[in-house]
């Protein structure tokens, strides 16, 4: 009997040879994106498949995952399991997810589809093709999981439209736009390595543990289903970095530059997650700072010790990100509270219990800087003078976050940090050294940024008054503002038989919404 091949060889036989040599076009033309970034690939055969999955097995597995997930979703819907949530404020985390994250899954789907076409190595093509399909599946399953909530709560009715227009959603959107408009190797370094490998746990862990605590089994199941794909994505990120570094020494400085850039870009996107984690989850299992310590400082530290052998160092400004962990969520949440009237989700002030938890988790900063702010805003609200910011914030030209970050690493945490650069006689503003470096490296790119605030002032966003703009965003008047007194709250109370004079039963409210 012939000796059985090992799994790698069997897989190679099934997948290699798919890349035939073109005869009537040159290879450079067929794979026209592969060289313009300056990356040198001398031998694609050195690519080690990070996982060995054939397309037929892939379909079988994904089909079964979907079958299981949809069974949980169905029973969740049939049992009206949203009624069992610990608290309806939690649903705002889902709103952030469907508006901010789900469209990114779709962007990832598109980006990897392009890579599957543009890489000339068959191993990389197949890995990217599967990831492209995974990301499409993530988009769909997230929409389906969350659509049940859309029947009962506001703000989740048009996430893709919102993602393209809304001020706070331009933060995640611009990160992916930046990656997608770069070359294929930069895209995959950004998404697979900087985002999925280094930072994905910081995104998924708080959402999923929040879901678990709230008995949101549909979302938890979605999380499990996605995590089994995510490990493939993370190994792809790692393999890719190793491959680029080993292929040619000229790749090292290019890759380092991308890691610096996309670490900082992705970290800025996670600012929104930090606020969600510390403030939106009724019972947060761990603080942003704790999550940062475990998932970034420890894990990335060990990895970069090994990457140092190749001449790579930790991403630039990582110390700054670690120092900011003491402040980040509070600064972001405060800003969101200031602009709650222009959001498609609710924000609120932390209650006593939450503030005590925050004091405990942030002993160096919360009582000193942030508690007094919340107490003052609570007092103002009590006096009928709820603080809200009537103006529009200045945005960072790169990360597009309002200028809310402070000079934490210069030991001046109450001073907003501003940076600016000149380009073609114009001045451009950035929020940090990290974003300024990114701008200065490719100013031609970032001058084209679609900044929501600028667009409003230029009259491109449906009008000059806030209601016109919100209408252009497809926000409904009841989508934003404080949670207290919101339509969501009224409905939630009604679902639990606490009469408030509004909708009397859940089914009614769903019909009411459907009719609206």
């Amino acid at each position: 009997m012939a000796k059985k091949l090992n799994m790698r060889k069997r897989y190679e036989l099934l997948t290699r040879g798919l890349g035939w040599e073109p005869t009537y076009q040159s290879k450079e033309k067929v794979f026209s994106n592969e060289s313009y970034e300056g990356i040198k690939i001398t031998d694609w055969s050195k690519w080690e498949d990070p996982f060995r999955l054939t397309i037929d097995a892939y379909w079988k597995y994904q089909a079964e995952k979907d079958k299981k997930l949809y069974a949980v979703m169905d029973s969740f819907a049939q049992n009206n399991a949203h009624l069992n949530l610990a608290d309806a404020t939690y649903v705002n985390a889902l709103k952030l997810f469907i508006q901010g994250v789900t469209p990114l899954e779709y962007q990832a789907h598109r980006g990897f589809a392009r890579l599957a076409r543009q890489f000339s190595g068959e191993g990389a093509q197949i890995a990217c093709q599967m990831q492209s399909l995974d990301e499409l599946r993530h988009t769909q399953t997230q929409i389906h999981t969350i659509s049940h909530y859309n029947k009962h709560f506001n703000g989740m009715h048009d996430p893709f439209h919102m993602h393209d227009r809304v001020w706070y959603l331009s933060v995640p959107k611009s990160y992916f736009d930046d990656a997608k408009s770069a070359g294929p190797f930069e895209f995959i370094t950004s998404v697979s390595f900087a985002f999925e490998y280094l930072l994905t746990n910081l995104l998924f862990v708080p959402f999923m543990s929040g879901a678990a605590f709230n008995g949101d089994m549909a979302t938890v199941t979605f999380g499990f289903s996605a995590q089994s794909d995510e490990s493939r994505h993370m190994t792809l990120g790692l393999e890719l970095i190793k491959f680029l570094l080993e292929q040619h020494e000229d790749n090292i400085p290019i890759v380092q530059g991308w890691i610096d850039k996309h670490f900082w870009r992705a970290y800025r996107v996670l600012a929104l997650v930090s606020a969600m984690q510390d403030y939106m989850l009724p019972e947060s299992p761990m603080s942003w700072k704790e999550a940062w310590e475990i998932y970034f400082v420890e894990n990335a530290g060990a990895l970069f010790n090994d990457l140092a052998r190749y001449g790579l160092r930790m991403p630039k400004y990582h110390e700054q990100a670690t120092a900011e962990a003491e402040h980040l969520s509070h600064q972001v949440w405060g800003t969101l509270y200031n602009y709650a009237h222009a959001a498609s989700m609710h924000f609120w002030l932390p209650d006593e219990k939450k503030m005590d938890w925050l004091s405990e988790k942030y002993p160096n900063t919360f009582d000193k800087y942030y508690r007094p702010r919340y107490e003052m805003w609570a007092q103002m609200a009590k006096e009928g003078k709820r603080f809200q910011n009537g103006g529009l914030p200045q945005l960072c030209q790169v990360c597009q976050v309002p200028m809310l970050f402070t000079e934490v690493s210069k030991d001046d945490p109450m001073q907003i940090s501003y940076r600016s650069s000149e380009f073609n006689g114009e001045k451009f503003h950035t929020c940090s050294d990290g974003c300024k470096d990114i701008f200065d490296h490719e100013p031609e790119k970032y001058v084209h940024a679609w900044l929501p605030v600028h667009q409003i002032f230029q009259g491109n966003c449906g009008g000059a008054a806030i209601p016109d703009i919100l209408n252009w965003y497809h926000f409904k008047p009841e989508d934003g503002g404080d949670y207290a007194g919101s339509a969501d709250e009224t409905r939630w109370k009604a679902m639990h038989g606490e009469t408030t004079g509004a909708a009397s039963s859940d089914t009614e409210s769903a019909e009411e919404k459907a009719a609206a």
Partner: protein
């Protein structure tokens, strides 16, 4: 209850306790199986059970599908054995590895040499057929009173000497086992051991020139390997860089110098890290990795590298090799871990076998 697992396609056999996961047993036996999350969520550690039965433990239904369970798949990080097993894992077959079954032996101490103030050479005579092993393999020595934690020592003699093996034992500060071997063991004593073990061996079929890097008692394996290569008329180029602190700690110098004189394709470079400046030593100074960088002009691509000895030395050599563009697939190593190595820095998932 202990079960035996045979791992396809390499044919390695390892032991696993009831209740111990397959992954844990494999990693402890020095066999790398792919894995990531370590607790049943990601599916990276999937293996196929060809024979025998397992409990699936906490395997997530999304990481291990029903159809896969029916196909006999399991997650090595959660699965525990219910019987002896044969599993197929995603590991590389090693055409150059010889699989010799592990056996228990009794050796009689026939000679003890003091090689350096810190290293003794212990010769063990084995009766009957002797021991079959591959150059680079080690044995587990059962030191009286310390049988539950056997001490590992690489065989310094070539496999052609089946009835008399040589060990080079370095004295470890505060080390109970090596202190006993240095102070108590006498000629004529019997000592029990099992072996051979290990996955450190010469890639005989690889055409590349070879670099051996060793420090301290890490000379043992390269000595066995190099002697065997020349017994078989080796023609590839071989460079052996050996590091010691000073001349007193340098041993088997004549042996390798003679070998170098005999074989133009063999280069022997001893390097001393703390030899007094005025000692008259004319050879290389510094650490092994520094000597290697200098000798090869910082370029290692196109070689196969074999490293043996104290973990910090190997760590420094790996970095030097990677900087010189020789990567994981072309380097092989045996780290002389001790109990103290447990406190080492956490491992990143970047490398499989480093």
């Amino acid at each position: 209850m202990t079960y035996e697992i045979t791992i396809d396609p390499t044919g390695d056999t390892i032991e696993v306790e009831a209740g111990q996961t397959l992954l844990d047993a494999a990693l402890r036996a020095g066999i790398y199986l792919p894995h990531a999350c370590g607790h049943g969520l990601c599916g990276s550690c999937k293996v196929t059970v060809l024979e025998g039965e397992v409990l699936h433990g906490d395997a997530s239904p999304f990481a291990l599908m029903d159809i896969e369970r029916e196909e006999g798949k399991c997650l090595a990080c959660c699965a525990t054995p219910l019987s002896d097993l044969t599993i197929e894992a995603d590991v590389e077959e090693e055409p150059d590895a010889h699989n010799h079954p592990v056996r228990d032996f009794v050796g009689v101490v026939s000679k003890i040499d003091t090689l350096t103030p810190r290293i003794k050479s212990i010769f063990l005579a084995i009766e009957h057929d002797g021991i079959d092993f591959q150059a680079g393999h080690y044995i587990n020595l059962l030191i009286p009173g310390m049988e539950d934690t056997p001490r590992a020592f690489s065989i310094a003699s070539p496999p052609s000497e089946r009835n008399l093996i040589e060990l080079n034992v370095a004295l470890v500060d505060g080390g109970k086992g090596t202190t006993w071997l240095h102070n108590e063991l006498k000629i004529g004593d019997e000592i029990r051991f099992s072996g051979p073990y290990g996955r450190f061996f010469v890639r005989e079929s690889a055409p590349e020139p070879m670099i051996f890097l060793a420090g301290g008692s890490g000379l043992s394996s390269p000595k066995s390997m190099i002697l065997e290569l020349f017994e078989h008329g080796e023609t590839r180029s071989i460079t052996f860089i050996y590091g010691a602190r000073n001349q007193a700690e340098l041993y088997y110098r004549e042996l390798f110098e003679e070998l170098a004189a005999e074989h133009p394709n063999f280069t022997y470079l001893p390097v001393l890290s703390s030899e007094p400046a005025d000692s008259g030593w004319e050879g290389l100074r510094g650490f092994v990795h520094e000597a290697a960088r200098e000798h090869f002009g910082g370029k290692f691509a196109g070689h196969k590298a074999y490293m043996c000895g104290p973990p910090p030395m190997i760590d420094a050599c790996i970095t030097t090799l990677i900087q010189g563009r020789l990567f994981e697939r072309d380097m092989y190593m045996e780290n002389f871990y001790t109990q103290a190595s447990k406190d080492a820095a956490p491992k990143s998932p970047l490398f499989k076998s480093i």
